[in-house]
Amino acid sequence: MNALFAFVAGLVFGIGLIVSGMANPAKVIGFLDLAGTWDPSLAFVMGGAIALGALAFAYAKRRSMSLLDLPMQLPTARHIDRRLIGGSALFGIGWGLAGICPGPALVLLGSGAVKGAVFFAAMIGGMALFELAEHLKRARPNDVACDYSNLTDH
C-alpha cells in the first residue's frame, strides 16, 4: 500500500515537473541566467509548490502517524555545517551546468532522451561515490562518531 501511494506521489510530481517547465533544462537555465534575458517562471513553480506544501506540512507536523498508519518521519536535523553548504554548492554548480536536478533527471530518463539517460547515469555515479566515501569513513576506527546521515535524509 505504501508503495502504491509512493508511486502516485512520484507520478503527480513528475507530471508537475513536465507541466511547470522544470523538466526542460533550457528553461531552467533561462531562469538561472539573471544577467541574460531572464525567464522568472520557475519562481512561480516554487511558489505554487510551497503554498500547497506548507498546508500539508503544517497538518503533518501535528500527527505522529501518517494516514496509512506509518510513522511520520520528518527531518529533525537543524545544524548548518560544511557538509550542508559545501554539498549544496556542488549541487548548484552541477545544476547550473546542465539545468537538470534529480527529479527532472528521472523524467528525462523516462521520456527516452539519451542525454537525460547519460546525466542520470552520471548522477547515480556521483551518489555511489558519496556512499563509498561514507563507507570508508565509517570503516576508519579512530573516526569521531559524527554521522548525521540517517537524520538528514530529505
Partner: protein, 144 residues
C-alpha cells in the same frame, strides 16, 4: 536584467508547482515522508530490507510521468544544450552534492521551505546562488 517575455509561462509554472506541492502533500500525509528525490534514489544505493519497494515505486512514478502525460497531450519540447562531457560532470556534481548536502531542489527547496526549515533555507539559497553564479560564468564570462 531584462525579462524574457517570450518564454515566460507564469500560469503553467503555477499549475505545475501546485501539482508538485500536491505530490509532496500526498507523500507526507500518506507515507509520512519527505518527497526528496535525491534522498529517495540515493537510499537505494544503501539498500535495507523493507526500505526498497517504496523508493523504487516513487522513482518509477517520476520516470513514467512522460508516458502518462503523453496519453492526454503531446509532451512539451525539451532541450539539453550541455555537451556530453559537461553533462557527465554536471550529473556527477549533482549526485555527490545533493547527497552531501542532504537534499536537492525537492527535499530542501520544496519540502524544506514548506516546513520553514532554516537548514533547508540555507541549502536552497546556497544551491540557487551557485546555480546563478555557474550560469553567469559559463554564459557571460566564458561565452559558451
Amino acid at each position: 536584467m531584462s525579462i524574457d517575455w517570450n518564454h515566460f509561462t507564469p500560469w503553467a509554472a503555477l499549475v505545475g508547482g501546485l501539482l508538485i506541492g500536491l505530490a509532496a502533500a500526498i507523500f507526507v500525509l500518506f507515507n509520512g515522508r519527505i518527497a526528496g528525490v535525491s534522498g529517495i534514489v540515493g537510499g537505494l544505493l544503501r539498500p535495507r530490507r523493507g526500505d526498497i519497494a517504496w523508493r523504487v515505486a516513487f522513482a518509477a512514478g517520476l520516470a513514467l510521468a512522460p508516458f502518462v502525460y503523453r496519453t492526454f497531450a503531446a509532451l512539451p519540447a525539451t532541450r539539453i544544450d550541455a555537451g556530453w562531457l559537461l553533462l557527465i560532470a554536471a550529473g556527477a556534481l549533482v549526485g555527490i552534492g545533493a547527497r552531501y548536502g542532504s537534499g536537492c531542489t525537492s527535499g530542501h527547496g520544496v519540502c524544506g521551505l514548506s516546513r520553514f526549515s532554516l537548514r533547508s533555507l540555507v541549502a536552497t539559497l546556497t544551491f540557487m546562488g551557485a546555480g546563478f553564479a555557474t550560469v553567469f560564468i559559463v554564459r557571460h564570462l566564458l561565452g559558451a
